[in-house]
């Protein structure tokens, strides 16, 4: 797990939980924009936005992780991820910080009521334990 713990992570909040994504997966973080709904598409797809002339799909992480839906606040952000050569945005309630972890444990069966399969591991830094999301699983399966 050394490889994981050497990395930097972006820590963010969804509902009241804290989660992390490897910084190398993050392309940029933007404020909420006008989202155009794509009807009859994937259920957790919120819609698409115009990111400087590119159409970028936006995923509703709350729906995806089956947490109570988000409400738009001043801190709501869209994290644009780069995955499989494509950009996909996820909506989060707040972006906290960029950090490293002193240790990373394999994920348990469930993290705060969410299926453990969505996680790469649990990052430990000082007192706090943060679930590291497995992008591949969250976005595609």
């Amino acid at each position: 797990m050394n490889e994981l713990s050497d990395n930097q992570y972006v820590v963010f909040e969804i509902a009241d939980g804290k989660y992390a994504i490897k910084i190398s997966d993050v392309y940029e973080i933007i404020k909420m924009k006008k989202i155009t709904v794509i009807h009859n598409s994937k259920p957790f797809l919120e819609g698409v936005i115009n990111l400087r002339g590119k159409i970028v799909p936006i995923v509703n992480l709350h729906k995806r992780l089956e947490i109570e839906n988000y409400t738009l606040t001043k801190t709501t952000r869209v994290i644009i991820l780069k995955s499989r050569d494509e950009m996909v945005g996820v909506i989060v309630d707040k972006v906290n910080q960029v950090t490293g972890f002193s240790d990373i444990q394999p994920p348990p069966e469930a993290v705060a009521g969410i299926d453990g399969n969505y996680f790469d591991g649990l990052g430990i830094s000082g007192e706090s334990v943060i679930g590291i999301l497995k992008i591949e699983k969250v976005l595609y399966e």
Partner: protein, 711 residues
């Protein structure tokens, strides 16, 4: 190990060149078969093979080098009249071509692993080479050639060199003759051991140019390499000197010349014949020759550009188009707000200028993506030839409008449907020669493929003079395959019956042949055309033939869209699918069997509320509703929208693979305000909402509606 072989740019250029030369080879071999031996054609084939040999050996592509080398040997023999281009020879040349294609494919998949076995075709070539020509045959051969190419040469058959001259050169010679100059053929044989023969030949050219004017050289030493100069080099010289003096001068003053022979050039009508011949041919549709000269000249002014770079350019232009619209919008807003401010007038002026320039830029970039459809049509002569041979049919192919240009991506996407239509025409349409004679038709069937522009569209037609579509049989088959019920069949009109052939699961061919009827039917053709926002129509007459007409947009990247609102969401509809827009009081809408309909100009239209499919509320309490009448092929439907926003040029952007294919959307676009709007795919909409039958629905609904209104 990195070297020239691994340089992706070199490989790219090589692959492009291979494709080009292979196409040229195919064209010329077909021409050889059709027109018989003609030094010009042989030279063309030779040159293509030679270019391939050169570039493949530079890329370290051994197998291709070997094969092209052997081809050259055979071609050389044909060129020197030591071998006759008979059918077996041409067939072997075609085999070579096929193998070269296979080699190319191998090269594309994995250049380190070339699997294609070329030994059989090499054997074939060697067998031809080893066939010793006997003297009788040679004279036969040259006689044939003379007849076929209509060059009536008599006495000096062995002696006279036949130069292929273009019009300018002919005029040059004529004028020289009128002004009393001598026109000589100087036949030079270089010493066998001479190294750098082409350099030597070039020196000779300069030398003759001092003595007079060299009109032409055979073989062309400027283009071809050393190995071409195996035999004599012939210079066609206009000079004041007499032949004997030249002969003496050459022998005395130049080195490494084995022999020299100077004789007057018999230039007469017959030498112009090839030109006349070409014009005759062009009537048959094989008018490559004059154009080939044209393209050769044009080639000098072109640059190869990576397609990806073009796409990127297109993207950027797309963004520019969007920003342009935004500038205009912001300008208008500002103008309303600060009507007195002159700077805003300026801004609007600038915005207009920017928009003009952008329009032009957009047009030019669009044009750079355009390619002549020849790229695609060039494949057809071979296809038709092979098909006709397999099926024992005689087919004359006429190709028109090869120079018509359209978007590269469309050319690629329309290839399969067209090939399918051609196969169908030759297989099912055109009858066997016996049957045709019996019907009083010429035994050779005609297949005509043409392309031309019409407004913002390109029309491609595939027309045969075969047996036509048997409407009765179509109906029977459709009933048998349970596509329609017998009752429905009885009520169909001609138009609707023809439309049946595009339904999936339909194929009238009884026997599944090798050529067509492999389960891929006309429905696939239609779905391809639909995908390109195109329309396909059929005209058929029993016993007289069938004509397929495909209408396609020139480009897919930018289209004119009608922006509409459904609930509070904005959508774009391709204007090419919009037939008309109607405003209608809500109370005039009728319902038949649960399907809402509207009667517009005595035609019954099924109405569609996408609101229901999107789970958004329908507009309530509206007096009038807007109906956009949409058409895909024969289908018509009325889309109910809440608001019409107007026409706009929109740049089509893909939704990306993450979202994947959503049936009712063909893509998205960015609007003037920076927001995204989805582009509705009309074919997809019709499919999603109309799982019931839409074809033929009109009559049925109309009938029902009459019943209801009578009540």
């Amino acid at each position: 190990m990195t070297g020239i072989y691994d340089n992706p740019e070199m490989i790219g250029v090589f692959i492009d060149e291979m494709e080009e030369q292979l196409l040229l080879l195919e064209e010329s071999i077909l021409e050889l078969e059709r027109c018989g031996e003609n030094p010009d054609i042989i030279q063309k084939i030779f040159r293509a093979a030679h270019t391939l040999k050169g570039s493949s050996s530079a890329m370290g592509f051994e197998k291709m080098k070997i094969l092209t080398h052997e081809m050259e040997n055979v071609l050389d023999k044909i060129r020197n009249h030591r071998l006759k281009a008979t059918n077996p020879v041409i067939n072997v040349l075609f085999q070579c071509l096929d193998h070269l294609r296979l080699l190319k494919d191998d090269f594309l998949t994995d250049r380190k692993d070339i699997r294609t076995d070329i030994s059989t075709v090499l054997d074939g070539l060697k067998r031809i080479l080893s066939e010793e020509p006997d003297p009788d045959k040679i004279s036969d051969c040259s006689k044939d050639m003379a007849v076929e190419s209509m060059v009536q040469e008599t006495a000096q058959e062995d002696q006279t060199m036949n130069f292929m001259l273009d019009l300018e050169q002919q005029i040059q010679i004529e004028q020289a003759a009128i002004s009393g100059l001598n026109i000589f053929v100087c036949e030079i044989r270089l010493a066998q051991d001479s190294v750098m023969k082409s350099a030597r030949a070039y020196l000779l050219l300069n030398y003759f140019n001092q003595l007079g004017t060299v009109v032409q050289v055979e073989p062309n030493i400027l283009e071809d390499g050393d190995d071409l100069i195996k035999n004599a080099i012939n210079y066609l010289v206009i000079t004041q000197m007499d032949g004997k003096t030249i002969e003496a001068k050459v022998i005395n003053e130049l080195m490494e010349v084995e022999s020299v022979k100077v004789y007057p050039y018999h230039w007469n009508i017959s030498n112009q014949q090839p030109l006349a011949d070409v014009t005759v041919k062009s009537k048959d549709g094989g008018n490559e020759n004059p154009k080939a000269v044209d393209t050769e000249r044009k080639v000098n002014h072109t640059v190869r550009v990576d397609v990806e770079r073009l796409e990127k350019m297109m993207d950027l232009i797309g963004e520019l188009v969007i920003e342009r619209t935004r500038i205009t919008q912001v300008g208008n807003v500002l103008h309303e707000r600060y009507a007195a401010d002159n700077t805003i007038e300026d801004l609007i002026g600038i915005a207009n200028q920017v928009s003009r320039v952008t329009n032009e830029l957009q047009e030019i970039v669009l044009k750079t993506r355009m390619l002549p459809i020849k790229q695609l049509f060039g494949r057809f002569p071979r296809l038709v030839r092979d098909l006709a041979q397999t099926l024992d049919k005689e087919v004359e192919l006429i190709v028109e409008g090869e120079e018509t240009e359209l978007d590269k991506t469309i050319i690629e996407d329309i290839a399969d449907p067209l090939i399918h239509l051609i196969r169908n025409a030759v297989d099912h349409g055109i009858e066997t020669p016996e049957e045709r004679s019996r019907l009083g038709k010429s035994p050779t069937g005609t297949l005509k493929i043409s392309a031309f522009h019409q407004e913002n569209h390109i029309i491609i037609t595939v027309q045969d003079d075969g047996r036509g579509i048997d409407l009765e049989r179509v109906k029977e088959t459709a009933v048998k395959k349970q596509i329609i019920t017998p009752q429905e069949a009885a009520s169909l009109n001609e138009h609707e019956i023809i439309a049946l052939i595009f339904r999936s699961g339909f194929s009238t061919s009884i026997a599944v042949s090798d050529v067509s009827g492999r389960g891929v039917g006309m429905d696939v053709v239609k779905s391809h055309v639909d995908k390109l926002n195109g329309i396909i129509e059929v005209e058929t007459r029993k016993g007289e033939g069938t004509k397929f007409i495909i209408k396609l947009p020139l480009t897919l990247a930018i289209l004119t869209g009608l922006l509409v609102k459904i609930s509070d969401e904005t959508y774009a509809l391709p204007l090419s699918n919009v037939i008309e827009i109607v405003r209608m009081p809500e109370k005039e809408i009728k319902t038949v069997k649960g399907q809402a309909i509207a009667v517009i100009r005595d035609k019954v239209l099924p109405l569609v509320w996408l609101h229901d499919h999107f789970n958004v509320p329908r507009k309530e309490n509206a007096k009038n509703i807007f109906i956009v009448v949409l058409g895909v092929a024969e289908k018509r439907l009325g889309l109910v929208v809440d608001e019409l926003l107007g026409n706009q040029e929109i740049v089509v952007k893909p939704m990306g693979s993450y979202i994947g294919k959503v049936e009712i959307f063909s893509g998205a676009t960015i609007l003037g305000d920076g927001s995204v709007a989805c582009i509705l795919d009309v074919a997809g909409v019709a499919k999603t909402v109309g799982n019931k039958r839409v074809i033929g629905a009109d009559d049925d609904l109309l009938y029902q509606w009459h019943l209801n209104s009578r009540e």
